[in-house]
């Protein structure tokens, strides 16, 4: 097989920062080529270069053995390079077909869209590559996995031969990941090439034909999955031993800090999201909550935080009834909340870090002094968080939006763990963060547990659930279907419970 894409000595410098240097990449036609690396290792820059969004300062890019210069995504598309972004760019209230053709509509005289022709082509693509999509379904009715398939179809519709997938599994649940992998396999079987960016080692080992590892802006090695293992890959990525959390001594108190009794919740349209959930969390315990996304986890979190009211049942946090207690009092009682959507729920993106340190703590000392905001202690404590959690920032006056995702998350975790909360709601605490940040976050959560805090850990990362949790509750269809012991349960058992195949 020939190399469909060759990158040699590519370099991209920003003032003061080397984003890419000496990057080399050889991608064989008809293969799945994974690129792994920590956040900030230069993966995104490389992909932007390949998609024509960023122009390299030096280096050679060859597509089909021909040297090319990519000035814009149009150039990339013309050469058969397509990009499936991590955050989908789909219009919610339009159909699948409309979204697929948007921007490259086949038209008569430049204005009359040839819908039938487009539909035929889309159906053909869906059939050839076995993508399960319905051209007439509205995007708003689709789940995340289906939306991703639409994005893939969109790229194929434009004639892509090389597909770049930017962290495609970050938004997917295990079942959807395996569907995606089946789809990707089908694509390469039909002769297409896939560039797969990730930092999930298991997935990369499972799907890739070849793995290129990036670190500090450069490509450090390439491996075949059968010649390597997770440990080696992780070491290549971080350039050293991978820190692992040690399960500390169990110190579970008899006091229950979170008690959920028969909590149900129905949406305004009558759809039942939660059905009689019973949960009990003690101090010094990490209770994992596993489940396929959309089975009521988000609603359960909102009930606990007093952001929503249950239709029936009770939720008690640190002795407070969350139905009658406003969120600020729940927080003040000593609850840390790491939301799953950090940018929308956890940060004021266009505010400096020190103001973000106040967020959620503005109703009590030391962030507030009576009616006044205490800027001094906010700035000071932000510096502590930055140091303790290794947040990479030049200072605390930097806007939250200037930080990378992993550093934003470290800051949020640091903030939510300050003041030694009794209860911590940690939703996807390490989603989308690199291995180094993950290790820090895990370590700090374990530390909080050791000191006696109770942690509700909502996660889609099974490794995370297994290495941190004392117990794992599985939620399915809005009910807790089983409570598992992580030391005696296999991932397979958990998977079955999560899909509703077994129940307690």
């Amino acid at each position: 097989m020939v190399n469909i894409l060759e990158v040699d000595g590519v370099e991209k410098k920003y003032p003061g920062v080397i984003a890419n240097q000496g990057v080399s990449l050889h991608v064989r036609e008809g293969s799945i080529h994974a690129i792994i690396g920590e956040n900030g290792a230069g993966k995104s820059t490389l992909m932007k270069i390949l998609y024509g969004l960023v122009r390299p300062d030096a280096g050679v890019i060859k597509v089909f053995d021909r040297e090319v210069s990519l000035k814009s995504p149009q150039d990339a598309i013309a050469l058969g390079i397509g990009m499936v972004h991590q955050h989908f760019k789909l219009a919610d209230n339009a159909t699948v077909l409309e979204n697929v053709i948007l921007g490259s509509e086949p038209s008569r005289f430049g204005f009359a869209i040839k819908f039938e022709e487009a539909r035929k082509k889309l159906v053909e693509i869906a059939h050839t590559y076995q993508l399960d999509i319905d051209p007439d379904e509205s995007i708003s009715n689709l789940g995340v996995g289906e939306r991703q398939r639409v994005e893939i179809a969109k790229v194929l519709f434009r004639g892509a031969k090389i597909l770049i997938l930017d962290e495609p599994t970050a938004v997917l649940v295990p079942q959807e990941v395996s569907e995606l992998f089946t789809n990707l396999r089908e694509l390469v079987n039909k002769g297409l090439t896939v560039l797969f960016i990730s930092h999930k080692l298991d997935e990369v080992l499972a799907i890739a034909d070849e793995i290129t590892i990036m670190r500090q802006g450069t490509t450090v090695a390439s491996r075949k999955p059968h010649d390597t293992n997770k440990k080696e890959l992780a070491e290549l990525m971080v350039g050293g031993e991978l820190p692992r959390p040690k399960a500390g001594a169990q110190n579970i108190s008899s006091k229950s800090i979170l008690t959920i009794k028969g909590a149900s919740y129905s949406r305004a349209d009558g759809r039942e999201i939660l059905r009689g959930v019973n949960l009990d969390l003690h101090g010094g315990e990490i209770l994992g909550l596993a489940g396929v996304e959309g089975n009521g986890q988000s609603e359960l979190i909102e009930l606990i935080m007093g952001l929503m009211r249950p239709s029936s049942g009770t939720v008690e946090v640190l002795g407070l009834n969350t139905v009658t207690t406003p969120t600020r009092d729940i927080r003040n009682a000593g609850v840390g909340y790491i939301p799953q959507d950090r940018q929308r729920d956890g940060l004021l993106m266009s505010a400096p870090l020190w103001e973000n340190r106040i967020l959620g703590h503005q109703f009590s000392q030391p962030m507030a002094k009576g009616i006044w905001v205490n800027k001094g202690s906010a700035a000071e404590d932000s510096k502590r968080v930055v140091a303790e959690f290794d947040v990479r920032t030049p200072g605390v006056n930097v806007l939250a939006s200037a930080l990378s995702g992993g550093n934003q998350q470290k800051f949020i975790v640091g903030r939510e763990l300050s003041g030694d909360p009794h209860l911590i709601i940690a939703a996807q605490p390490t989603r989308g963060v690199d291995v180094g940040a993950q290790a820090i976050i895990w370590e700090q959560l374990m530390k909080a547990r050791t000191r006696g805090a109770g942690i509700l850990l909502i996660s889609a990362d099974l490794e995370e659930l297994f290495s941190l949790s004392d117990r794992i509750a599985v939620i399915y269809g809005g009910s807790i279907v089983s409570i598992l012991n992580p030391s005696t349960t296999t991932a397979e058992d958990l998977g079955l419970a999560m899909t509703g195949a077994i129940s307690a």
Binding site: Y14, P15, G16, V17, I18, A19, G40, R215, Q216, G239, G240, M305, L307, P326, T327, R328, D329, I330, R331, N332, Y337, P339, D341, R344, D345, G346, L347, L348, M349, S350, A351, E355, I358, L359, G360, Q362, F363, A368, I371, W372, V373, D390, R392, T393, P394, N397, V398, L399, S401, A402, L403, S404, N407
Partner: protein, 363 residues
Amino acid sequence: MTKSRIFWGTLAPVAAILSSLIFVYIILTIRGVNPIDIFAEMVSYGFQPRNLVSELNQTIAYYMAGVAAAIGFKMLLFNIGIDGQYRMGAFFGAVVGAAVNLPPILHVTLIIITAMLAGGLWAAIAGYLKVRRGISEVISNIMLNFIAAAIIAFLLSEDLLGTLPEGSQNLQTRKIPLSGQMPTIKAFNGEIYSFLFVAIAVGIAYWVMLNKTVFGFNLRATGLSFRAARSSGVNAPGMIFITTILSGAIAGLVGIGTLLSDTHSYSMAFPAGYAFTGLALALLGRNHPVGIFFAAFLWSFLERTAPVLEFEGVPPEITIVMQGTIVLSIVVAYELVARVNLRQQQRAVGKVNAEASSLKESQ
């Protein structure tokens, strides 16, 4: 940090005003007049003491409208209802002021509080509709502006609250007695409304509230991200409602300087159009009390000096073109400055990242 913040903060408005000057320069040149002469004429006319006083008095009203709009902007509210709120404030301030007899300071205070209450309560309607019914405040406020004008016109009839003084065609409220009037400061051959001090106090209070108090933090947080504020424990819908009322209360003060120091009664001659001006000034002044003040002065200055253009045979509407281009370019300029600023910060973050990585490497 503060130095660079002031630099970035002033860069955009200065750039916007410059680009608008260039635009007007071109227009004037095309008309065959010497732009430099005209600009010089406008400046010398505008800075004549007598004109300065009248500009300053107009600045007070614009300033209140600008601060009212700015509070709304901080919450992502587009308070186009300033017009109606200002009318309600001035009208009820005048009515209550004329109806009572109190010691001077108390009397004036009562009028000011009444005006704020009237403006705030009128805005509360739009706030309620937004928070409880999801109706855009732009739509409801435009309607409320018309309704406010109609209600006042109705109440101003002679058999209700209005009078028609002899020799006047203009229905108005009864005169506020001397104890309810505010003195003027005699300076520069003119009389400056002492309401200026109230306006300055409102500006300071606005800044302190917004930047130093927990309430202000919650307000800004809700404006920056409704969901993040809610998750942090802020009653976000409540904050939107309260902010609407605050904005309306300040808008209620727009006409009070004129009312207490000049006309002493409300009439249909009170001008309209404060909403658009207020929004433009908040934009130009970057929601900052000092910035809004300069913007308000610039607006008054341009309006006062417009007749100069007429002497030179140039249509005075050029000032409106100038105001328009300033607003237009300010939006572009702020966006550019914000992007450059963010890019700079990201670069700084990238540097730290690179250093941290190489440090890790060397260990």
